[in-house]
Symmetry: C2
DNA sequence: CTCTAAAAGCAAATTTTTTGCTTTAGTGGA
DNA sequence: TCCACTAAAGCAAAAAATTTGCTTTTAGAG
């Protein structure tokens, strides 16, 4: 069965928008713009380049020159939020950890903000951001998997988890009006854990 | 295991952009605009509302008033093309039919036009179009399934096919740089056909 | 400390989008 | 068939957005 190559070095660690001189002005402006986007979203304001620029204390042309389009900017903002903030919890029982992590993942992605972020990531011309997202996911699953392996256990391949759980969950969220509720996810998880 | 509700009457048959008075002016204009989009895409021209309007011999405000945004228009155009043009071939061997149909489906969706159409469908605010897409897919699978059932055979549930084949294929196409090649699809198909 | 290259600011030009009002086309009733 | 009536299209002006040429600032290298 075909699988996934995670290609961590390449896809995972690259910054959404390569920051040439980190720590300098470029980074400050990027941060200001990203923050502006978040704040405007939060406030429910219209998300336009001029509005974002004003909020960030920056000239619109700066944004246009750096990101090209609003879609690309929003895509970069989305991946930032999609980046996992820590490792999955380690209870000693990898099956429990896996179930828990997947439940939380599904819930987050199915939420309105989650859906919006996915749409933002996919709407950009640049495919790299979408790849980064799935790499993040694979990375997290790998952490749980490695723990299991370290204990001599045989968890399912990451590729299998992507195909059998992640993909169906995301597909449902993106393409149907039924969410990916707890029962659905649990069913998928049992499907893979049942075999090996 | 949780499944899919196809909900055919609701999701499948609804027009992408409800045409109030079919056959009238509204329909003609819609057709002209859709054709204009296709032609401009074909010609590799910039896809802007004014350009589309000009090509369609229509005023831009007509498009803005009817579709709101370019994304919504492109979304409608995309679903139109995603609508299946016929039933899956019937060779008498439903497994072969299924394999063939899935291969073709994967290939079409993985192609650059296919990817673009999916992005267009998903980029619109309106979630209905994405639902329509997956409903189309479920419908086609159901056709193959019904034939098998009619012969007293026991094909996998449509829901299972969606979860185990369609979802992984689409996820891969949308979120990774590896395509969904023939081997990958074949592997997925064997996965479901192997069990029942 | 100066020099350089990259990126930001600014402002004008261009293009796209919105909007108020007028005109036209299709529908239903006399 | 003719006459209203309604929904949608056309038109044009206004508003908003994006692009672009040029100037200024900034961080980093020598």
């Amino acid at each position: 069965m075909a699988g996934w190559e995670m290609d961590q070095k390449q896809a995972v660690m690259e910054k959404p928008q390569a920051a040439p001189r980190p720590g300098g002005r470029a980074a400050r402006i990027q941060a200001a713009v990203f923050k502006a986007v978040d704040e405007l979203k939060q406030a429910g304001e219209e998300l336009t380049v001029p509005a974002i620029a004003a909020r960030a204390g920056v000239t619109p042309s700066t944004i246009y020159r750096r990101w090209g389009t609003l879609a690309d900017l929003l895509s970069d903002v989305a991946v930032r939020h999609l980046r996992p903030d820590g490792e999955p919890t380690d209870s000693g029982d990898w099956r429990a950890d896996l179930r828990l992590w997947l439940e939380q993942y599904a819930e987050e992605m199915a939420s309105e903000p989650g859906r919006a972020m996915m749409r933002d990531v996919l709407s950009a011309d640049r495919a790299a951001n979408a790849c980064t997202c799935s790499a993040y996911t694979g990375q997290q699953l790998d952490v749980i998997r490695q723990r299991a392996l370290a204990r001599g256990d045989t968890p399912p391949e990451t590729a299998v988890l992507m195909d059998r759980v992640i993909a169906p969950v995301i597909y449902r969220i993106l393409f149907t009006h039924e969410g990916a509720d707890g029962d659905y996810v649990a069913g998928l998880v049992e499907g893979v854990l049942g075999e090996g």
